[in-house]
Symmetry: C2
Protein backbone atom coordinates (compact mmCIF):
# COMPACT_ATOMS: atom_id res chain seq x y z
CA UNK A 1 0.00 0.00 0.00
CA UNK A 2 1.05 3.63 -0.55
CA UNK A 3 2.93 4.96 2.46
CA UNK A 4 2.68 8.61 3.46
CA UNK A 5 6.11 10.05 4.25
CA UNK A 6 5.25 13.68 4.97
CA UNK A 7 1.90 15.46 5.21
CA UNK A 8 0.95 18.91 3.92
CA UNK A 9 -2.23 20.87 3.33
CA UNK A 10 -2.98 20.54 -0.41
CA UNK A 11 -6.32 22.34 -0.26
CA UNK A 12 -7.15 24.54 -3.28
CA UNK A 13 -5.74 28.03 -3.36
CA UNK A 14 -8.20 30.92 -3.09
CA UNK A 15 -8.25 33.45 -5.93
CA UNK A 16 -8.47 36.87 -4.23
CA UNK A 17 -8.45 38.73 -7.55
CA UNK A 18 -7.71 38.09 -11.19
CA UNK A 19 -6.92 40.17 -14.25
CA UNK A 20 -6.61 39.54 -17.96
CA UNK A 21 -3.10 40.09 -19.35
CA UNK A 22 -3.44 38.80 -22.94
CA UNK A 23 -6.80 38.23 -24.61
CA UNK A 24 -5.98 36.60 -27.94
CA UNK A 25 -7.93 33.61 -29.23
CA UNK A 26 -4.63 31.66 -29.49
CA UNK A 27 -3.21 32.81 -26.18
CA UNK A 28 -5.41 33.93 -23.30
CA UNK A 29 -3.34 34.75 -20.21
CA UNK A 30 -4.53 35.89 -16.80
CA UNK A 31 -2.79 36.85 -13.58
CA UNK A 32 -4.20 35.73 -10.23
CA UNK A 33 -3.59 36.98 -6.71
CA UNK A 34 -3.75 33.87 -4.55
CA UNK A 35 -4.08 32.90 -0.89
CA UNK A 36 -2.68 29.49 0.06
CA UNK A 37 -4.18 27.34 2.86
CA UNK A 38 -1.21 28.32 5.04
CA UNK A 39 -2.18 31.98 4.66
CA UNK A 40 0.81 32.70 2.42
CA UNK A 41 -0.01 34.90 -0.56
CA UNK A 42 1.21 34.74 -4.15
CA UNK A 43 0.48 37.83 -6.16
CA UNK A 44 0.39 37.98 -9.96
CA UNK A 45 0.53 34.23 -10.66
CA UNK A 46 0.40 33.67 -14.44
CA UNK A 47 -1.95 31.14 -16.06
CA UNK A 48 -2.19 30.43 -19.79
CA UNK A 49 -5.77 29.29 -20.40
CA UNK A 50 -4.52 26.77 -22.93
CA UNK A 51 -6.81 24.74 -25.20
CA UNK A 52 -7.72 21.11 -24.61
CA UNK A 53 -5.93 18.87 -27.10
CA UNK A 54 -6.70 15.44 -28.58
CA UNK A 55 -3.70 13.21 -29.31
CA UNK A 56 -4.11 9.94 -31.16
CA UNK A 57 -1.79 6.95 -31.68
CA UNK A 58 -2.91 5.46 -35.01
CA UNK A 59 -2.16 1.81 -35.80
CA UNK A 60 -2.94 0.16 -39.16
CA UNK A 61 -4.41 -3.34 -39.47
CA UNK A 62 -0.86 -4.43 -40.38
CA UNK A 63 0.49 -3.06 -37.08
CA UNK A 64 2.24 0.06 -38.46
CA UNK A 65 2.18 3.32 -36.46
CA UNK A 66 1.33 6.56 -38.32
CA UNK A 67 3.51 9.54 -37.34
CA UNK A 68 3.87 13.19 -38.36
CA UNK A 69 7.01 15.25 -38.75
CA UNK A 70 6.51 19.00 -38.31
CA UNK A 71 8.51 22.12 -37.55
CA UNK A 72 7.67 23.33 -34.04
CA UNK A 73 8.42 27.00 -33.73
CA UNK A 74 8.71 27.54 -29.96
CA UNK A 75 11.51 24.95 -29.68
CA UNK A 76 12.81 25.68 -33.20
CA UNK A 77 13.09 22.03 -34.27
CA UNK A 78 11.53 19.51 -36.61
CA UNK A 79 9.83 16.95 -34.37
CA UNK A 80 8.28 13.51 -34.74
CA UNK A 81 4.89 13.16 -33.09
CA UNK A 82 1.47 11.57 -33.29
CA UNK A 83 -1.45 13.50 -34.78
CA UNK A 84 -2.79 16.03 -32.29
CA UNK A 85 -4.73 19.24 -32.22
CA UNK A 86 -7.15 21.48 -30.41
CA UNK A 87 -10.63 20.32 -29.44
CA UNK A 88 -13.23 22.68 -30.92
CA UNK A 89 -16.05 24.37 -29.03
CA UNK A 90 -18.79 21.81 -28.50
CA UNK A 91 -16.65 19.05 -30.01
CA UNK A 92 -15.95 15.86 -28.05
CA UNK A 93 -12.36 14.75 -27.49
CA UNK A 94 -13.13 11.60 -29.51
CA UNK A 95 -14.46 13.59 -32.47
CA UNK A 96 -11.43 15.89 -32.35
CA UNK A 97 -9.10 12.86 -32.35
CA UNK A 98 -10.83 11.44 -35.45
CA UNK A 99 -10.81 14.83 -37.18
CA UNK A 100 -7.17 15.64 -36.42
CA UNK A 101 -6.08 12.15 -37.51
CA UNK A 102 -7.77 12.58 -40.88
CA UNK A 103 -6.76 16.22 -41.40
CA UNK A 104 -3.10 15.70 -40.53
CA UNK A 105 -2.49 12.28 -42.08
CA UNK A 106 -5.34 11.34 -44.42
CA UNK A 107 -5.93 8.19 -42.34
CA UNK A 108 -9.32 7.47 -40.80
CA UNK A 109 -9.88 5.66 -37.52
CA UNK A 110 -11.62 2.32 -37.07
CA UNK A 111 -12.14 1.93 -33.34
CA UNK A 112 -10.96 4.58 -30.91
CA UNK A 113 -10.20 3.91 -27.25
CA UNK A 114 -9.21 6.39 -24.54
CA UNK A 115 -5.76 6.08 -22.96
CA UNK A 116 -6.39 8.70 -20.28
CA UNK A 117 -5.60 12.37 -20.07
CA UNK A 118 -2.55 14.37 -19.05
CA UNK A 119 -1.83 17.99 -18.15
CA UNK A 120 1.27 19.17 -20.00
CA UNK A 121 2.19 21.86 -17.48
CA UNK A 122 -0.43 21.98 -14.72
CA UNK A 123 1.14 24.81 -12.72
CA UNK A 124 0.82 27.29 -15.58
CA UNK A 125 -1.39 25.76 -18.33
CA UNK A 126 -5.06 25.01 -17.71
CA UNK A 127 -5.59 22.63 -20.64
CA UNK A 128 -5.62 18.84 -20.86
CA UNK A 129 -4.33 16.41 -23.46
CA UNK A 130 -6.85 13.63 -24.15
CA UNK A 131 -4.95 10.57 -25.36
CA UNK A 132 -6.38 7.89 -27.67
CA UNK A 133 -5.39 4.68 -29.38
CA UNK A 134 -6.91 4.31 -32.87
CA UNK A 135 -6.84 0.75 -34.20
CA UNK A 136 -7.42 -0.33 -37.79
CA UNK A 137 -6.71 3.08 -39.30
CA UNK A 138 -6.80 3.14 -43.11
CA UNK A 139 -5.53 5.58 -45.72
CA UNK A 140 -7.89 7.25 -48.16
CA UNK A 141 -9.42 10.01 -46.03
CA UNK A 142 -9.12 13.72 -46.76
CA UNK A 143 -5.79 15.24 -45.67
CA UNK A 144 -6.27 18.94 -45.05
CA UNK A 145 -2.83 20.25 -46.11
CA UNK A 146 -3.00 23.24 -43.75
CA UNK A 147 -0.53 25.78 -45.22
CA UNK A 148 0.36 26.88 -41.67
CA UNK A 149 1.30 23.37 -40.56
CA UNK A 150 3.38 21.58 -43.25
CA UNK A 151 3.27 17.91 -42.26
CA UNK A 152 5.27 14.92 -43.42
CA UNK A 153 3.44 11.66 -42.75
CA UNK A 154 5.27 8.38 -42.25
CA UNK A 155 4.54 4.91 -40.95
CA UNK A 156 6.80 2.70 -38.85
CA UNK A 157 6.65 -0.84 -37.52
CA UNK A 158 6.07 -1.73 -33.86
CA UNK A 159 9.78 -2.58 -33.52
CA UNK A 160 10.66 0.84 -34.93
CA UNK A 161 8.36 2.76 -32.59
CA UNK A 162 9.96 0.99 -29.62
CA UNK A 163 13.39 1.94 -30.96
CA UNK A 164 12.35 5.57 -31.63
CA UNK A 165 11.00 5.92 -28.07
CA UNK A 166 13.93 4.25 -26.31
CA UNK A 167 16.48 6.27 -28.32
CA UNK A 168 14.73 9.57 -27.58
CA UNK A 169 13.69 10.36 -31.14
CA UNK A 170 10.08 11.07 -30.13
CA UNK A 171 10.33 14.15 -27.91
CA UNK A 172 6.84 15.69 -27.91
CA UNK A 173 5.60 15.08 -24.38
CA UNK A 174 2.02 13.98 -25.02
CA UNK A 175 3.16 11.76 -27.91
CA UNK A 176 5.65 9.97 -25.66
CA UNK A 177 3.01 9.37 -22.97
CA UNK A 178 0.38 8.29 -25.49
CA UNK A 179 2.75 5.96 -27.33
CA UNK A 180 3.97 4.24 -24.17
CA UNK A 181 0.41 3.85 -22.84
CA UNK A 182 -0.70 2.51 -26.24
CA UNK A 183 2.11 -0.04 -26.33
CA UNK A 184 1.09 -1.27 -22.87
CA UNK A 185 -2.51 -1.55 -24.06
CA UNK A 186 -1.41 -3.40 -27.20
CA UNK A 187 0.65 -5.78 -25.10
CA UNK A 188 3.76 -4.94 -27.06
CA UNK B 1 11.92 0.70 -42.34
CA UNK B 2 9.99 3.94 -41.92
CA UNK B 3 7.83 4.60 -44.96
CA UNK B 4 7.15 8.15 -46.11
CA UNK B 5 3.46 8.62 -46.94
CA UNK B 6 3.37 12.33 -47.80
CA UNK B 7 6.15 14.90 -48.15
CA UNK B 8 6.19 18.53 -47.00
CA UNK B 9 8.76 21.24 -46.49
CA UNK B 10 9.55 21.27 -42.78
CA UNK B 11 12.33 23.87 -43.01
CA UNK B 12 12.54 26.32 -40.10
CA UNK B 13 10.29 29.35 -40.16
CA UNK B 14 11.94 32.74 -40.56
CA UNK B 15 11.32 35.32 -37.83
CA UNK B 16 10.67 38.60 -39.67
CA UNK B 17 10.16 40.53 -36.43
CA UNK B 18 9.59 39.88 -32.76
CA UNK B 19 8.29 41.83 -29.80
CA UNK B 20 8.13 41.29 -26.05
CA UNK B 21 4.59 40.99 -24.66
CA UNK B 22 5.23 39.97 -21.04
CA UNK B 23 8.61 40.34 -19.35
CA UNK B 24 8.21 38.70 -15.96
CA UNK B 25 10.86 36.36 -14.55
CA UNK B 26 8.16 33.65 -14.21
CA UNK B 27 6.50 34.25 -17.55
CA UNK B 28 8.37 35.79 -20.47
CA UNK B 29 6.18 35.91 -23.59
CA UNK B 30 7.04 37.19 -27.05
CA UNK B 31 5.13 37.53 -30.29
CA UNK B 32 6.81 36.67 -33.59
CA UNK B 33 5.92 37.57 -37.17
CA UNK B 34 6.88 34.51 -39.21
CA UNK B 35 7.46 33.52 -42.82
CA UNK B 36 6.98 29.82 -43.62
CA UNK B 37 8.99 28.00 -46.32
CA UNK B 38 5.86 28.10 -48.54
CA UNK B 39 5.88 31.91 -48.31
CA UNK B 40 2.80 31.93 -46.08
CA UNK B 41 3.01 34.38 -43.20
CA UNK B 42 1.86 34.08 -39.60
CA UNK B 43 1.77 37.34 -37.71
CA UNK B 44 1.80 37.66 -33.94
CA UNK B 45 2.61 34.02 -33.08
CA UNK B 46 2.86 33.68 -29.27
CA UNK B 47 5.77 31.91 -27.56
CA UNK B 48 6.17 31.44 -23.81
CA UNK B 49 9.92 31.27 -23.19
CA UNK B 50 9.34 28.63 -20.53
CA UNK B 51 12.06 27.34 -18.20
CA UNK B 52 13.86 24.04 -18.64
CA UNK B 53 12.69 21.52 -16.05
CA UNK B 54 14.30 18.47 -14.45
CA UNK B 55 11.97 15.59 -13.59
CA UNK B 56 13.20 12.60 -11.62
CA UNK B 57 11.71 9.15 -10.94
CA UNK B 58 13.16 8.12 -7.55
CA UNK B 59 13.35 4.44 -6.62
CA UNK B 60 14.51 3.20 -3.21
CA UNK B 61 16.83 0.19 -2.74
CA UNK B 62 13.67 -1.73 -1.78
CA UNK B 63 12.02 -0.88 -5.11
CA UNK B 64 9.54 1.73 -3.86
CA UNK B 65 8.78 4.82 -5.99
CA UNK B 66 8.75 8.24 -4.28
CA UNK B 67 5.90 10.52 -5.37
CA UNK B 68 4.61 14.00 -4.50
CA UNK B 69 1.05 15.20 -4.18
CA UNK B 70 0.57 18.93 -4.78
CA UNK B 71 -2.16 21.40 -5.65
CA UNK B 72 -1.64 22.65 -9.22
CA UNK B 73 -3.31 25.99 -9.67
CA UNK B 74 -3.68 26.26 -13.46
CA UNK B 75 -5.75 23.05 -13.62
CA UNK B 76 -7.21 23.56 -10.13
CA UNK B 77 -6.54 20.01 -8.91
CA UNK B 78 -4.40 18.07 -6.47
CA UNK B 79 -2.09 15.94 -8.61
CA UNK B 80 0.28 13.04 -8.11
CA UNK B 81 3.66 13.49 -9.75
CA UNK B 82 7.37 12.84 -9.51
CA UNK B 83 9.69 15.52 -8.11
CA UNK B 84 10.36 18.20 -10.72
CA UNK B 85 11.42 21.80 -10.94
CA UNK B 86 13.19 24.50 -12.86
CA UNK B 87 16.87 24.22 -13.79
CA UNK B 88 18.76 27.23 -12.44
CA UNK B 89 21.07 29.50 -14.41
CA UNK B 90 24.37 27.71 -14.87
CA UNK B 91 23.00 24.56 -13.23
CA UNK B 92 23.15 21.22 -15.04
CA UNK B 93 19.96 19.21 -15.53
CA UNK B 94 21.49 16.45 -13.39
CA UNK B 95 22.26 18.83 -10.52
CA UNK B 96 18.74 20.27 -10.71
CA UNK B 97 17.26 16.76 -10.58
CA UNK B 98 19.27 15.96 -7.43
CA UNK B 99 18.39 19.30 -5.82
CA UNK B 100 14.67 19.10 -6.61
CA UNK B 101 14.49 15.51 -5.36
CA UNK B 102 16.00 16.49 -2.01
CA UNK B 103 14.09 19.79 -1.64
CA UNK B 104 10.69 18.30 -2.47
CA UNK B 105 10.96 14.89 -0.78
CA UNK B 106 13.97 14.82 1.57
CA UNK B 107 15.33 11.83 -0.36
CA UNK B 108 18.81 11.94 -1.90
CA UNK B 109 19.81 10.21 -5.10
CA UNK B 110 22.35 7.40 -5.44
CA UNK B 111 22.98 6.99 -9.15
CA UNK B 112 21.18 9.16 -11.68
CA UNK B 113 20.63 8.17 -15.29
CA UNK B 114 19.07 10.21 -18.09
CA UNK B 115 15.81 8.95 -19.66
CA UNK B 116 15.79 11.54 -22.46
CA UNK B 117 14.06 14.87 -22.80
CA UNK B 118 10.61 15.99 -23.89
CA UNK B 119 9.00 19.24 -24.92
CA UNK B 120 5.70 19.68 -23.10
CA UNK B 121 4.12 21.94 -25.73
CA UNK B 122 6.63 22.61 -28.52
CA UNK B 123 4.41 24.87 -30.62
CA UNK B 124 4.06 27.45 -27.86
CA UNK B 125 6.59 26.64 -25.06
CA UNK B 126 10.33 26.84 -25.68
CA UNK B 127 11.46 24.81 -22.67
CA UNK B 128 12.42 21.16 -22.28
CA UNK B 129 11.80 18.60 -19.58
CA UNK B 130 14.94 16.58 -18.79
CA UNK B 131 13.89 13.18 -17.43
CA UNK B 132 15.94 11.06 -15.03
CA UNK B 133 15.79 7.78 -13.17
CA UNK B 134 17.34 7.94 -9.68
CA UNK B 135 18.15 4.56 -8.21
CA UNK B 136 18.97 3.80 -4.58
CA UNK B 137 17.42 6.98 -3.19
CA UNK B 138 17.46 7.22 0.59
CA UNK B 139 15.60 9.37 3.11
CA UNK B 140 17.44 11.69 5.46
CA UNK B 141 18.22 14.66 3.22
CA UNK B 142 16.98 18.19 3.78
CA UNK B 143 13.37 18.74 2.67
CA UNK B 144 12.90 22.43 1.88
CA UNK B 145 9.22 22.86 2.92
CA UNK B 146 8.64 25.70 0.42
CA UNK B 147 5.59 27.56 1.82
CA UNK B 148 4.49 28.26 -1.77
CA UNK B 149 4.48 24.57 -2.74
CA UNK B 150 2.91 22.43 0.04
CA UNK B 151 3.95 18.88 -0.80
CA UNK B 152 2.79 15.53 0.50
CA UNK B 153 5.39 12.82 -0.05
CA UNK B 154 4.46 9.17 -0.41
CA UNK B 155 6.06 5.95 -1.57
CA UNK B 156 4.44 3.15 -3.56
CA UNK B 157 5.51 -0.29 -4.72
CA UNK B 158 6.30 -1.16 -8.35
CA UNK B 159 2.93 -2.94 -8.64
CA UNK B 160 1.21 0.20 -7.36
CA UNK B 161 2.96 2.53 -9.80
CA UNK B 162 1.86 0.28 -12.68
CA UNK B 163 -1.69 0.40 -11.37
CA UNK B 164 -1.62 4.20 -10.86
CA UNK B 165 -0.38 4.72 -14.44
CA UNK B 166 -2.79 2.29 -16.11
CA UNK B 167 -5.77 3.67 -14.18
CA UNK B 168 -4.93 7.27 -15.07
CA UNK B 169 -4.13 8.46 -11.54
CA UNK B 170 -0.83 10.02 -12.60
CA UNK B 171 -1.83 12.84 -14.95
CA UNK B 172 1.14 15.22 -15.04
CA UNK B 173 2.53 14.80 -18.55
CA UNK B 174 6.27 14.67 -17.87
CA UNK B 175 5.72 12.37 -14.88
CA UNK B 176 3.78 9.91 -17.05
CA UNK B 177 6.50 9.89 -19.73
CA UNK B 178 9.31 9.63 -17.18
CA UNK B 179 7.60 6.84 -15.23
CA UNK B 180 6.88 4.73 -18.31
CA UNK B 181 10.42 5.22 -19.63
CA UNK B 182 11.81 4.36 -16.19
CA UNK B 183 9.74 1.17 -15.98
CA UNK B 184 11.07 0.10 -19.40
CA UNK B 185 14.63 0.80 -18.20
CA UNK B 186 14.01 -1.14 -14.98
CA UNK B 187 12.64 -4.05 -16.96
CA UNK B 188 9.40 -3.99 -15.04
Amino acid sequence: MATEVTAADTSPWVVASSRRRIDDSWFRVRQDDLVLPSGHEINGYFVWESPDIATVVPVTPGGRFVLCRQYRHAVGRVMLQFPAGGIGDGESAEDAARRELEEETGYTAGSLEPLGRTAAYPTKLSGWHHLFLARDVVAGGCKADDPHEPTQVLTVTAAEIHQLLDSGQVQVGDSVSAALLALRRLGG
